[in-house]
Amino acid sequence: MSRLVIASIGPASSVQDGGRHGAQRYGLTVSGAMDRLSLAAANTLVGNEPFAAVVEIGPFGATFTAKDGAVRVAIAGAPRNADVAGKPVAMDTSVTLKDGEALTLGFARGGAFTYLAIEGGIKGEPVFGSLAVNARAGLGSPYPRPLQAGDEFTVDAASGAPELRIELPKPASGPIRVLLGPQDDEFDDANKALFLDSEWKISATSDRMGYRLEGPAIKHLHGHNIVSDGTVNGSIQVPGNGAPIALMMDRGTSGGYPKIATVITADVGRLAQTSAGTAFRFLEVTMAEAQEEARKFAQLIRNLPDRLRSSDTVELNIEALSDANVAGYAVSAVDAGTWQVTAEP
């Protein structure tokens, strides 16, 4: 056994996995990773099940040190500068930390959450099949709270497997797709149009429970109190002040505000990775389109192992990387010698 010690970590970082399902009927929040595709990609890189528990790292930096042996990890999700002993590590790759070596991650450059998967997974006591942290209910293992410096994980010694990268499809850009409902009839056509046609920004006061949206005030037809009913990840509820809130993984299982729309499954992670202050729009899609996208998204996650490549085919050019980042672009390695440069969404 080796240990992975957290030398430093910012707020909004916790152990997360595929979530705690089956007890929403008792009020038990689902929790789980905000960006399931990145969760699954990080796990796939180190040979774990796609929804195994990982460290979800909030927007600030973090440092992890291997102790008592080598530890193999992988990173995916919000891009950041990363290095081991001064040697850069690309996003969407695995890396082995020798005993005593540290992986240092910088601030997220665009997006919010980066996922650190550990070969062999995180050891803990699952509750309802999950190690995910739900601080309000005192759940999560091995730490039922956000992570802090000094926390450590007992982990498998690194296997010595060759390092891998994973070739993910180019992240979709464009509007966040929604289905109207379940309570769109609590809003008139003008207010539905206002919701769909306006530019929105995510407020800095957002968290894993909900993303507060800044934009025009949406008015209800019959007031803002409805009899509480069930919520899902991506439910967009409109409270009395007219400022919508997209409910995220730590949402209450029921809520008493009208829900004008619901983010489609395939786009919830993309919304989760939209930085505070970035302008975006919603787009209404049909049920058939949304379900087709959900099926494709599930298939993408199932087939992630087919996207693994040997990592030595990429030569990192750290200067090109940092130049582009200074210019405000998000950069990731696509193939040997090429770069995918996209303006941050």
């Binding site: 009927r25 009020g27 929040t29 309000r136 409805i226 009913d229 069930g230 919520t231 029921s254 619901t262």
Partner: protein, 243 residues
């Protein structure tokens, strides 16, 4: 009872869940249909459904669109929901001890003043109620009860409290509640119970189920302290009445 019941509304909650809505208001008859559909689905599961969440007036059905589409699922749900209700099964009844007023029920005096009566009278009316767990939600074990005496209906507080203690027994609007964990709340706090409706390492983890009956009885604050310690150690404390 009619041979078939009017169909509920199917409201899409995204691509992987559907809200089967029986009523827009709090209504015991609608809640019974919610729980009947929930039971029917538990008894004969539909492939693709991953989880159901009963609430006052609707059943939220989570499903995997890779296994069943919205239209096919909707048809099956409507067929099940139009079946006549089975004869009511005998409900479980819980007798829940409550330490009313003082530090445990900081709104009791204000509620009494607002309703032009005494704290003892408020307790008497609350204890006299025959309640039903309509749903559990918000935080683990938070049991929403129907059956609050009409004379105790009053709007929620203007500004919700950010913290209310574990075990809070409260009323809000036309509802009564048993709150398990500390949480924000805009309801009026009448007392506290030592009973944990949710306790992780106890069997059962969750005490109450939608459809259960509930009555309250008053205990003094010293008894509360004793029972609270016993409950912390895993005792259920609530008395189950087999009718």
């Amino acid at each position: 009872m009619a041979a078939t019941l009017p169909p509920p509304r199917l409201l899409p909650s995204g691509d992987s869940a559907v809200t089967v809505e029986f009523s827009r208001t709090i209504d015991d008859a609608a809640n019974e249909r919610v729980l009947a559909l929930d039971k029917a689905l538990a008894a004969s599961p539909i492939d693709g459904i991953t989880e159901t969440v009963p609430t006052y007036r609707s059943l939220l059905v989570h499903y995997d669109p890779g296994k069943i589409g919205f239209d096919a699922l909707g048809e099956k749900l409507l067929a099940l929901a139009s079946q006549p209700l089975p004869p009511a099964a005998r409900a479980r009844r819980w007798r829940i001890p409550v330490a009313y007023g003082g530090e445990h029920g900081i709104d009791l005096e204000d509620v009494a003043k607002a309703l032009n009566t005494t704290p003892d009278d408020i307790v008497a009316r609350h204890v006299a109620g025959d309640y039903r767990v309509a749903m559990i939600g918000f935080t683990p074990g938070w049991s929403y009860l129907s059956g609050l005496d009409k004379s105790l209906h009053m709007s929620r507080r203007q500004s919700p409290r950010l913290f209310t203690p574990a075990g809070t027994i409260s009323i809000g609007g036309i509802q009564a509640g048993i709150q398990c964990l500390a949480a924000p709340s805009g309801w009026h706090l009448l007392g506290r119970t030592p009973v944990r409706t949710y306790q992780l390492h106890r069997n059962p983890t969750f005490l109450t189920e939608p459809g259960d009956r509930v009555t309250f009885f008053a205990i003094d604050h010293k008894t509360f302290e004793e029972q609270d310690r016993a409950a912390e150690a895993g005792e259920i404390i609530a008395e189950q009445v087999i009718a």
